[in-house]
Symmetry: D2
Subunit: 188 residues, 4 copies
């Protein structure tokens, strides 16, 4: 199912379609994200807002709609996994993603607030934030930071998938709150 996550209406339509076709969403992995290589000093507002639209606002909408879908079916469990970035844990002088980092700090803080609320309600809906280092994706290759693609310097998409598999496979009462992983010689 295709969905432009920067458009709230499309997200809502997608959840409606899923509801009609298979009943609802139990587990949601927010993996979409966009990064422009922008400094805080010079980054333009349109590019900045485009990052917040996808990295923050879409993740909020999808998280909220997943929880609604879980609870309107009177289920007590489910899982929200938000894929952040290592740029959401540390701000490094030499990494050209200073304007991107704050979107991931915001996503981490949102996920933590959500966790507190779900815990206070005594639901068994789990929340996880995963902070991977640089991943070798077609999009990243298009931007062409060649030396970054040495295997010691970047993750493969499968490495993030393995983290998700581990998190989902934990017993229902175990919440893996946070994982940070990266290539062994990655920059941060």
């Amino acid at each position: 199912m295709k969905c432009d996550l920067s458009k709230t209406e499309e997200i809502e339509y997608m959840f409606q379609e899923i509801k009609e076709q298979i009943g609802g969403v139990d587990v949601c992995v927010n993996n979409a994200g966009i990064s422009f290589f922008q400094d805080c000093k010079t980054g333009t507002l349109p590019d900045t807002k485009a990052m917040y639209d996808l990295n923050v606002f879409a993740a909020i909408a999808v998280s909220q709609l997943t929880i609604q879908s879980i609870q309107e079916r009177n289920m007590d469990n489910g899982h929200i996994i938000n894929i952040s970035s290592i740029c959401g844990t540390t701000i490094h002088e030499d990494v050209p993603c200073h304007m991107y980092s704050p979107t991931k700090y915001a996503l981490g803080a949102f996920t933590e607030g959500l966790r507190h609320e779900l815990r206070k309600e005594k639901t068994k809906i789990r929340t996880t934030i995963i902070n991977p280092g640089f991943v070798d994706t077609p999009l990243a290759r298009m931007k062409g930071i060649a030396e970054a693609f040495d295997p010691g310097n970047c993750l493969q998409p499968d490495d993030v998938a393995s983290a998700v598999t581990y998190v989902l496979g934990a017993p229902p009462n175990v919440n893996v709150r946070h994982i940070c992983l990266h290539a062994i010689h990655g920059i941060l």
Copy 2:
């Protein structure tokens, strides 16, 4: 000078006016901010975006325009002071500002990225993030959380002003990067 900080054009116009009238901006204290008492689970997107508009995007625009104003006059010093909140340092189960916190985490990360960039340029422009606890303001009183206004539970606006005065008064080569202050029996 009045300015609706949620409108980029008004911010740009304000800086233009300042330039014409007094030459430019050397020191900027981003104190504007808005907080809706919203949960991450139920907060609406319009309210959420209104918080990001003021707490994040306006602070970015004002910070960038201040630096431009400093550097186009070939000055080497100046100061960006971003007023965050104690909600930008900790996410507490019982504090009803879970959707507000991420805006302040984003502001803190932006300020830190900016600091790295200015340091790398070897400028002497300083950056500071201040995280005050709950402050007794007319706006806060309108929202009416009565018990919060016991002097042991909240700061006065002057307490934040004193922090700003201390930061600005440090010798030019001393950067007070971060201050966190709160009422002694405040909630966090």
Copy 3:
């Protein structure tokens, strides 16, 4: 092999024995730890020092000896996994381990410093810090915090073991730097 980890001589003897019997240590999981329920205001120095002896100094010695063992055999890989605690990530008003927490903050900072050094050397020795919430162990049961043993409130030892298994099973160039896990309704 038994070893009183609070005694450096016994640690060194253990590594000597391992060297003679099986050649050396490639992977080390520092799981030993001790927690006295002590406040910062009233905790006694002997109890405090006993916690640092095991939680910090023994972990340092074992980490250093493992790296020596790896490098004296001209190996380039290996893994140091330090088991911290959720008390090493957050300091909570209501959790009676305020004097224990700082030992785990120190362990986390040590592990991060070590990671930087090994990365700078371009070795492939990996380092991981795991922060589990409260675990249901015989020792914990002896201390008798009954309500804590509801399955929603505590982890089982197997949950920590699964985290270790996941970390060790990642491809050699993937470093899982950090995992935080806890029972879904655990206190922090």
Copy 4:
């Protein structure tokens, strides 16, 4: 009054002397500290323990004895100011104090636990942690990292004193929890 802070008996004797001579201690600034330039990989245990003795255990003893002195006189206010280091906030690859950093992380965590306890008791005793960057002291000069002494790269002792003055001068119900300051071009 001279006191070897690495010896608990001398600390206790000092507080006894103060009690007899002037009644007690209301405000305590733990400024003593020692740093050996040691890696986590190779740092020796005796040097490491010497750092913990002064940076952690002495600070604990002095903090506890100050609170005792305040409360045995039925006073309700006072102030514990623990001087940490910028190495207690970030672990930087290129800063040669990896084994020192964990002592300052521990001190920060101790101070935060103490704050929670004093707040829970509803006392008005304040606690502050100050994280200064590199300071130009005679001891530092003896170790001779010459380039570090450019005024843009290091603080003067007065800069830390000014932070202490600001913290102590805040109104009694205002707790300045944390200050981080550093030379504008300092390394971290």
